[in-house]
Symmetry: C2
DNA sequence: GTCTATAGTCGGATAGAC
DNA sequence: GTCTATCCGACTATAGAC
């Protein structure tokens, strides 16, 4: 773990600016000049802190995944313990499911200006390292947990079914972050302001619950 | 409607090459040089046929959306007529829903090499014209139809609910095309070869059906 | 109509002063 | 450690020959 004596918050500022610009302009479109300018540092500072453009991008991935992982970890551990403990009622299983889904939806939809979700979406399409990092730190564990819960909710079901359903549920939630403009257009909404987000959350949850056999 | 006396299939070849490269390298990453080279034409030919890089990209969008629209039109019109005709049983409504969803899934997942889906995904994030074209020619009508069908299936439900659910269903299906690498990794599948695609299709449909109250 | 050659712009990276 | 000034490569677009 390196220390950045004089530049710890400079580093932060560069990272957040870079995420914003990578998200809005794409990796090739966001020039190091623009990033440096908007972050209020000189061009060689990027070289100094991150070794170059690819290094900066990797650092952005780390910065984001680390944050999301931290937010997702507590409910994930709680769920894991509960599942290990033994028999759970249907209501308890649904509650576990909900506790895992809720922070994901909130985190993707409202917490950060939306740049994170866009960065996410772009990285997933453009870069392979990003995919690895996301899957390793977030996606893999989440899907495994959801699969376990769904498997119990569905009772006996052929092996791939719970996993496919878990992925489909994550997809429904991710769509808020990833396909935001398309979704807003289709819904005729201007944004995901609080009440609308709450509506979306409620409807999605009702749909998921129903797809698993109802409450 | 313009004619391209000597270059109609040249135009086609350029378009398909361009889609492939835009999809894999992104708009800024796919240089006109590379596109021209891979298509077996000279650099100025792109200028001649499409007026420049932006024009070429617009033409790609048109080429794809026109194809998808053509494939989606027959079931959409059939559904529209059926809905106008009057009372439909639950089974009939579900069958309509399925007839709209099926070509979408097949088209996105298998028909074209996957480049189309990637092009789609990129364009949706990067370009606004693409979003307009897609919504106008495909998404808007599809979501409206699904909303109508779902509204009837759900009986009385608050206004936004059927529409939100329609969008969520489209999202689940789109995920096959858009987040393909992520989905494959999460499922531990190498590809969407026939049996696996069929499994996916079956599970998704069962889940959708259940979320709307079962068969 | 289709090509070769080139102009003009902008990108990432670095050398060297402070 | 952080800056200014600069290099070199790659891109789009166009001018003009055939």
């Amino acid at each position: 773990m390196r220390r950045y004596p004089c530049g710890d918050d400079t580093r932060r500022r560069i990272l957040e600016t870079a995420i914003e610009l990578f998200a809005h302009l794409g990796y090739p479109g966001a020039s190091t000049r623009t990033i440096a300018h908007r972050a209020g540092v000189s061009l060689p500072a990027l070289q100094y802190y991150f070794g170059g453009k690819p290094g900066l991008h990797r650092a952005c991935i780390e910065y984001i995944t680390e944050d999301v992982r931290a937010r997702l970890d507590p409910p994930a551990e709680r769920a894991q313990r509960a599942l290990a403990d033994g028999r759970l009622t249907r209501a308890q299983l649904l509650e576990l499911l909900r506790s895992l889904i809720k922070p994901l939806l909130e985190g993707l939809a409202s917490e950060r200006p939306q740049s994170w979700a866009l960065f996410f979406a772009r990285a997933q399409i453009e870069q392979n390292d990003a995919l690895d990092a996301i899957h390793e730190r977030i996606g893999g564990r989440l899907v495994t947990l959801l699969t376990e819960i769904i498997g119990r909710l569905l009772g006996e079901a052929a092996p791939p079914e719970p996993r496919v359903r878990a992925v489909a549920i994550v997809a429904q939630i991710m769509l808020v972050g990833r396909a935001r403009p398309m979704v807003l257009r289709s819904l005729g909404w201007p944004d995901f302001a609080e009440e609308r987000l709450a509506t979306l959350q409620r409807v999605l949850w009702r749909s998921i619950e129903a797809s698993l056999g109802g409450p």
